[in-house]
């Protein structure tokens, strides 16, 4: 890479993202009714505050001594206070105060916090250490206490109040800006900007600041709400604004004095504060969701209920759906089915028959993920399931386990495990299957284990559940299991936590957990993909050993041709949700039948033939969903 090619591309990247970012965020924002309501509420409050003299029936300081502490009447819609002030008018003028103090203090907080965070995050070193200490001290101080201290030192007054409240929140801004600057600084484009010779100031203003806009908007809205709350609290205590300036907190101060005889007086200012703060908080949440795209429609959430989905599952399903949607699958089944050669096994333990897995998109469209797939696995057999990402192999495995993500379901077909139907089981019925008959190991070795529980605990729990063992017996058994999967000093290591294991060792532990209930079938879902090559073969050897020892079948899902060749008896090729070809591993690699299989094998780099460019696979499915014969 040279600087001349990296520079301009890198510089244009964030600009392009900025162009699409706010537009996209605005589109999402419009689909959030709550946020929209919050925006309208805030707009109304701003209009009321700005047009206070026009709207308010009485002047701010106007007193009516004929009507003191009166209830609501035609003259005074919300009644009057102890000086005969019209409460409605006070309320309207106080909105002005709240907004001025709130906006002012958020600006002060940003003026202090943003530069501080930028410097700490960008300069690092001593600046950062010193600044972080200052933020630590601020952490040890309740916010309102900072307000007290500033007022004790400087006295009372509107500007001092704004400064005091701004100071309270400035450290929050500094902390946030520092964190974002740190991440941005590490990103490639800032590094490459360095190389192209941009000056520090240009980097900060050109690269880092645009990334701060979103988070600053979110925090700004939330802290504006908080600032209004703090202003109210300080005015309530009599430390805030001068007494002649109407404020919601000051009105509550009067109301508290008359809480026994005139309880209604506390309602209008309190409700005004709640509505304002609530709207600002909801706006902050809404901007946040719009920027991250996290909010799902209500319909989606409702559907998700039945399966108790996890966020990771939803994300995964979205990815799977999007990868399929780009090239719609309407495959002529005949072509695919014709090439499935040896699909029968004399001693079948698992049979998948004509299974259709679909995803329900939020807009109501049903997208096929796996279509009319048949597959059988024999007792003691290692079946490889080979395919690109998005080919539907993981969805197939998840459907066998009954762990399909929210929004994805088996539309039709059956999965039979040792004579028992798996499709359509309830959570309770699954307990008879999971662990006892089916075991699974997922991809990420560390994330597969709970980080805050010992490895022993995570082995002992399934052992006790499946075999009804006492704790002591289960512990011995757990040590034996760990020893069997090749963890040295097994008995001692039971008390270790997952982070104390290497990736390969953690994956061995995950295998031990999967084997705790003596399953008939062990599914490896890309279980060796995250490991380095040496560790990978060791783990595969272990699985083959265990297959010999325990006589279980193994379904090894992988995108790696090497893994399929090394450790499988038979291999099934999947592509775009279809099963293209199943054959024993030697026949498949020697004489592939399906054109896709041929292309796939050809794309695998080997030492024998040296080529300039690695062959790639053009899509075998046209935009119209037709297969292209090659």
């Amino acid at each position: 890479m040279t600087t001349s090619t990296v520079g301009p591309a890198a510089a244009s990247a964030p600009a392009a993202r900025q162009a699409s970012g706010p537009a996209q965020a605005w589109r999402r924002l419009r689909h959030q009714p709550v946020t929209l309501a919050a925006v309208i509420t805030i707009a109304i409050i701003i209009v009321i505050a700005a047009a206070a003299p026009l709207i308010a029936p009485y002047d701010a300081g106007e007193t009516d001594f004929t009507s003191v502490l009166a209830g609501p009447s035609a003259d005074h819609l919300l009644g009057t206070d102890d000086f005969g002030h019209d409460i409605l008018s006070q309320l309207i003028y106080a909105a002005r105060t709240a907004l001025i103090v709130g906006v002012g203090s958020v600006l002060v907080a940003m003026l202090i916090g943003v530069p501080m965070g930028l410097i700490l995050g960008y300069k690092g070193g001593w600046y950062d250490r010193l600044g972080s200490r200052v933020m630590d001290i601020a952490d040890a101080m309740p916010g309102i206490m900072i307000g007290f201290v500033v007022i004790a030192i400087l006295g009372r007054g509107t500007l001092i109040l704004i400064f005091a409240i701004g100071l309270i929140f400035s450290m929050n801004f500094a902390r946030m800006v520092r964190a974002i600057t740190l991440t941005e600084r590490k990103k490639l484009y800032v590094e490459s900007a360095h190389v192209t010779g941009l000056r520090n100031r240009q980097i900060v203003f050109g690269q880092v600041l645009p990334n701060l806009v979103g988070p600053l908007a979110v925090q700004g809205a939330v802290f504006l709400g908080n600032a209004i709350k703090v202003e109210a609290a300080l005015s309530f205590l009599g430390l805030g604004l001068p007494d002649d300036q109407p404020s919601w907190g000051g009105m509550l101060r009067t109301a508290a004095e008359h809480q026994v005889d005139h309880p209604w007086m506390a309602l209008p200012p309190g409700i005004a504060i709640v509505i304002t703060v609530l709207a600002l908080n909801l706006l902050g949440d809404g901007i946040n969701d719009a920027l991250s795209g996290a909010r799902t429609s209500r319909k989606q959430r409702k559907r998700a209920l039945h399966q108790a989905p996890t966020l990771a599952e939803v994300e995964e399903a979205k990815r799977a759906v999007s990868s399929v949607v780009t090239t719609p699958v309407a495959v002529a089944p005949a072509l695919a089915q014709a090439l499935v050669t040896t699909d029968k096994h004399p001693d079948t333990v698992l049979a998948v028959r004509d299974i259709h897995i679909v995803a329900d998109r939020p807009d109501g469209e049903v997208v096929p993920l796996v279509s009319s797939l048949d597959l059988t696995v024999g007792r003691g057999e290692v079946m490889g399931l080979l395919g690109e990402s998005g080919s539907g192999k993981s969805m197939l495995a998840k459907s066998i386990l009954g762990l399909l993500p929210a929004g994805v379901r088996v539309e039709s077909g059956s999965v039979e495990l040792a004579g028992e139907e798996l499709v359509g089981r309830t959570e309770r019925q699954w307990r008879e299957i999971r662990g006892k008959k089916l075991g699974v190991v997922f991809q990420n070795p560390q994330a597969n284990l709970s980080p805050v529980h010992t490895v022993g605990r995570q082995l002992i729990d399934p052992l006790r559940i499946h075999h009804g063992m006492s704790k002591a017996v289960a512990r011995d058994q757990a040590a034996d299991l760990l020893d069997m999967v090749g963890v040295k000093d097994a008995a001692k290591r039971l008390d270790d936590y997952p982070h104390q294991f290497s990736g390969g060792m953690a994956q061995r532990v995950a295998i031990a957990i999967a084997l705790a209930g003596d399953p008939d079938v062990l599914i490896l879902d890309e279980a060796t993909s995250a490991l380095d090559v040496t560790t990978q073969s060791q783990v595969l050897d272990l699985v083959l050993d265990l297959r010999e020892k325990l006589g279980m079948a193994v379904i090894n899902i992988t995108h790696d041709l090497g893994v399929a060749a090394e450790a499988c008896d038979r291999v099934a090729i999947m592509y775009h949700g279809q099963l293209l070809e199943v054959n024993d591993v030697f026949s498949l690699f020697d004489e592939p039948h399906h054109p896709y299989t041929k292309a796939l094998l050809a794309s695998h780099p080997t030492a024998d033939h040296k080529v300039d460019r690695l062959p790639t696979i053009a899509d075998f499915v046209t935009a119209d969903g037709e297969w292209i014969a090659r």
Partner: protein, 314 residues
Amino acid sequence: MGKLVLYRLGFAIPQLLVVSVVVFSLTYLVPGSPAAAILGVSATPESIALVEEQLGLNRPAGERLLEWFGGLVQGDLGTAYRSGLPVTEMLAQRIPATLSMILGGMVVAIVIGVGVGVYTGTRPGTKADRLLTGGTVLGIAIPEFWLGILLTTVFAAQLGWLPIIGWVPFTVDPWGWFVGLILPSLTLGITGGAIIARQTRASMVRALAAPYTDTLTAAGVPRWKILYQYGVKNAMVPVLASIGVVFAILIGVSFVIEKVFSFPGLGSLMLTSTIGQDFPVVQGVVLFTATLVIAVNLLIDILYGLINPQARPA
């Protein structure tokens, strides 16, 4: 365990030192001189010099800092400008009421927060979740002192179920102490509870979305065990941090709502001292509060290390 405590103390003690230096230097930030602030409009240069002499304000900063630390070690925080009483004594009178209120508030906040958070986090997207999570949004928006006014108006003034003036020392009447704490604790605990509930819900959802949940489910571990044993323990790691944050917030809030419940705590002392610019008292309250927050965060850091093996010193 001992190592963990020492390791955390290594963070807390320097923080405490820096805080005390900052608190000491507060008086130097006063425009003019604290003596001028005390004397008000009647101040003349002569009277200011006299008061500075009396209070020792005219001595060099280094000497005064040493004296300040010397006093701190012996539990001496100086003498109040206005009343002439020792600050330590003034604080000691107020601390029981403040600590009682904060204790009650924390209990309510943790019970509500963890309870609601775990309940909603295990069933995201349900009606109950939407209702309760909406409630937490409201709980964060409500000004606590207003909630206090409403609660006393309804339960004390109107219904008469609970006393309006709450504080009874524990040593005088334990039951009265408890009854008097009910409304202040609820008022304090609701906002804190809402913050903890949101954090708990989010980390519960995250914990249950982690791959190990699938590993355990596939290994046949029943869902309730995954939710309440594995999920909750994993979720508690970030929740503990939010409890520390809430503690600091609650102290500040307690200073405000003391007025609503007529509690003789540190808040009213701080209020009068702030208005009267009685700096030794202000410094005393700030130092005490900061020490309390640092101590509680030390405790939380230690708990954090106990729950999260990766946060233990190697």
